[in-house]
């Protein structure tokens, strides 16, 4: 008799638990799993919204991946099934390879500086953090104007103060458009800075005391205590930065009015996907791009997670012992 009652109580508790998560379950079915399966299906079709989707098998994927051997043999990008896809991938990886390391260096060293007991430290923290909350259209419109070679303020500074004779045309120069976007992104390093700062403040001070007793100087304390203790946070930011780059959109859309110009120099992956979906209404091909994006993000995440064993230090885990 008693056991039956406990069972029914446990069941009632479980039913209540499920009841409360119903909004998410419905949302998950309608806005996540359903659309994911649908876009997987669309990626095997030719679909322009107006006409019903037309099954084309692997055609979309072949369009992306065909011509690679020919390209390697001849070096001619026209041999590729979709040269623009590879261009977009290249732009995205180029941006990531500049922006991620620079962001990491700047925000981490800023966090180290802002972790010192210097006068006015709260004011400095506020100032450095401020740009990261006002991201988006307004900030990009501002930076277009700062970087403008004729009307902006960056080039006069480079010319008159640093003595650089031919400052680049930034967003108007295919070779400098991506670095210009990198500079823009560095203005917002405060966002990751604050995360590193919290990580630094979470390092137990007795570790530093122990290192001092052992005679470690400031640099040795940084390299042997601070840095290993911070690797989980560095790692986390790296993963999110990679994923963020593949979804980079607003800044480049606003800066180039959605063209990805000049000469496709800023045609980021996500912008190319957007153009296919909402300019050319090639929903089938755009779905293929979305799924390739999904697989790239998954692979990157997995790669960084696996390699993290080698260099990420988690407190309470012995490094030699695995």
């Amino acid at each position: 008799m008693k056991s039956i009652k406990t069972i029914s109580l446990a069941r009632r508790e479980a039913m209540a638990g499920y009841a409360f998560i119903i909004p998410w379950i419905i949302g998950f079915l309608i806005f996540t799993i359903g659309p994911m399966l649908a876009s997987l299906y669309f990626s095997f079709t030719d679909y322009n919204i107006v006409d019903p989707p037309n099954w084309v098998g692997l055609d979309n994927y072949i369009r992306v991946f065909s011509g690679i051997p020919e390209f390697f043999r001849t070096g001619d990008t026209r041999q590729l099934g979709d040269p623009i896809f590879w261009k977009a991938l290249q732009v995205t990886i180029y941006f990531a390879s500049l922006a991620l390391p620079l962001n990491l260096i700047f925000s981490f060293s800023l966090a180290v500086l802002l972790n010192q007991k210097v006068p006015g430290v709260n004011v400095w923290r506020t100032i450095y953090f401020l740009p990261s909350i006002i991201s988006g259209v307004a900030v990009t419109l501002l930076w277009i104007r700062i970087l403008n070679p004729r009307m902006g303020i960056l080039n006069p500074f480079l010319q008159n103060v640093l003595g650089i004779n031919n400052p680049p045309g930034w967003l108007q120069d295919p070779n400098w458009a991506v670095p210009a976007l990198v500079i823009m992104s560095l203005w917002g390093v405060g966002g990751s800075m604050i995360i590193y700062l919290a990580g630094l403040q979470g390092i137990p001070t007795d570790l530093y005391d122990a290192a001092k007793v052992d005679g470690a100087n400031a640099w040795q304390r940084f390299w042997n205590v601070t840095f290993p203790m911070m690797t989980p946070v560095l790692f986390y930011n790296l993963v999110l930065g990679m994923i963020g780059t593949f979804q980079y959109f607003t800044e480049v859309y606003v800066a180039t009015s959605g063209t990805g110009g000049p000469q496709r120099a800023t045609l980021f992956y996500n912008l190319y996907l957007y153009q296919n979906a909402f300019r050319y209404f090639d929903m089938g091909y755009a779905s293929t791009l979305a799924w390739i994006l999904f697989i790239i993000v998954l692979a990157l995440t997995a790669l960084i997670f696996r390699s993290s064993d080698m260099w990420v230090y988690y407190e309470g885990q012995l490094r030699g012992k695995q």
Binding site: P23, S39, I127, L130, L273
Partner: protein, 352 residues
């Protein structure tokens, strides 16, 4: 003994000195960086106050200004601080001459012209602040329409998010049920999911419902909870002592009443925090409004401003004025809730 004491004294002294030096250099570096960070914002504000004429002539000064002029015989001439025979005088430039020279004259005696090298004289300026750029900018585009749409999307969406995410977070933090942990992991995994992989079918779905080019696609999904906010709220709910629930249950409260009268009042800081983050997200969001809103009367500020720039990019002063208005609410919010803010970022950043 004294020598030993001196020795140690000099060591500690030098440590203090080097520490002082270190702090000094750190502060200088931080201050220099802070100036670099603030210059773009100063440029935005100053450009928003400039006369369009200045944008054409000396766009890249940080100060809204205009040349000082003097009227001679009903005509206006720019004033310069000129040096004549070692004496510094204020003179009007009457006309330019070949070879980088120019003719200057004292406005009181306009007939006595002096020829001087133009680039050795200092042009005089006065502050020229155009507050009227702001009302002009508000009239140049349907600003209040955009603002209204943005506010509807932001606040109705925030309500939906808080409502649904609280329910779901409560379900995940207070109940034992088979598979609940698995479902929670599933929820967390959606944080990493790129939205593009869902976007196209969702767009088509909305189009079939007739929701494209309405605010509904930006609002309705908020009523179905999202992983990020559920996670943050659940973590906070778990810190609320279970004894409080039990006491309420003994008094005959049902689970919904426990949520309403025990959990939510205790979780106010967490609710405020996710609310603020939602505000920032929705206020700044450009991607989804761009995709779902097609005509002017439905645009949010982000899309409206971008489109205005695409059409009238020459009106830099007006665009910067609206940009200032657009970044103002987030900054205000930031200053009023700085602590919640940084804690929230850190919490979601390190543990998310």
């Amino acid at each position: 003994m004294k020598r030993i004491a001196d020795f140690f004294g000099s060591i500690t002294g030098s440590i203090k000195a080097s520490e002082f030096l270190f702090k000094g250099i750190t502060t200088l570096l931080l201050a220099a960086g802070a100036v670099v960070i603030m210059i773009p914002l100063a440029f935005m504000v100053s450009t928003s106050l400039k006369d369009p004429g200045q944008l054409r002539s000396d766009a890249n000064t940080l100060i809204p200004r205009k040349p000082q002029t003097a009227e001679i015989n009903g005509e206006k001439f720019n004033l310069y601080q000129v040096t004549v025979d070692g004496a510094s005088l204020e003179m009007a430039m009457i006309k330019k001459a070949p070879g980088g020279m120019a003719f200057f004259a004292d406005p009181a005696r306009p007939d006595e012209l002096i020829e001087l090298k133009l680039n050795e004289q200092i042009a005089l300026y006065s502050f020229d602040i155009h507050w009227e750029n702001y009302p002009e900018a508000l009239n140049a585009m349907p600003f209040f329409r955009y603002l209204g749409n943005t506010l509807i999307v932001t606040f109705v969406g925030m309500f939906g998010m808080l409502f649904s995410s609280s329910l779901v977070a409560y379900g995940f933090s207070r109940f034992r049920a088979p598979w609940l942990n698995v479902l929670f992991l599933l929820l967390l995994s959606t944080i990493m999911l790129p939205s593009q992989v869902r976007l196209i079918p969702i767009y088509i779905f909305y189009q079939k419902l007739g929701w494209v080019n309405t605010l509904l696609p930006l609002i309705v999904p908020q009523f179905f909870a999202n992983a990020y906010d559920v996670f943050l709220l659940r973590q906070f709910f778990m810190t609320i002592p279970l004894e409080l629930d039990d006491a309420a249950k003994i008094d005959g409260a049902n689970p919904l009443q426990v949520l309403l009268y025990i959990i939510l009042p205790q979780a106010r800081p967490a609710l405020v925090s996710v609310g603020i983050f939602h505000f920032l997200y929705a206020w700044n969001d450009f991607y989804e409004p761009l995709i779902f809103l097609h005509t002017r009367e439905n645009w949010t500020l982000a899309v409206g401003l971008q489109t205005f720039d695409a059409l009238y990019t020459i009106n830099t002063h007006l665009i910067m004025a609206v940009s200032v208005l657009m970044i103002f609410p987030p900054i205000l919010l930031f200053f009023f809730s700085q602590k919640i803010f940084t804690q929230g970022v850190v919490f979601s950043g390190v543990k998310g």
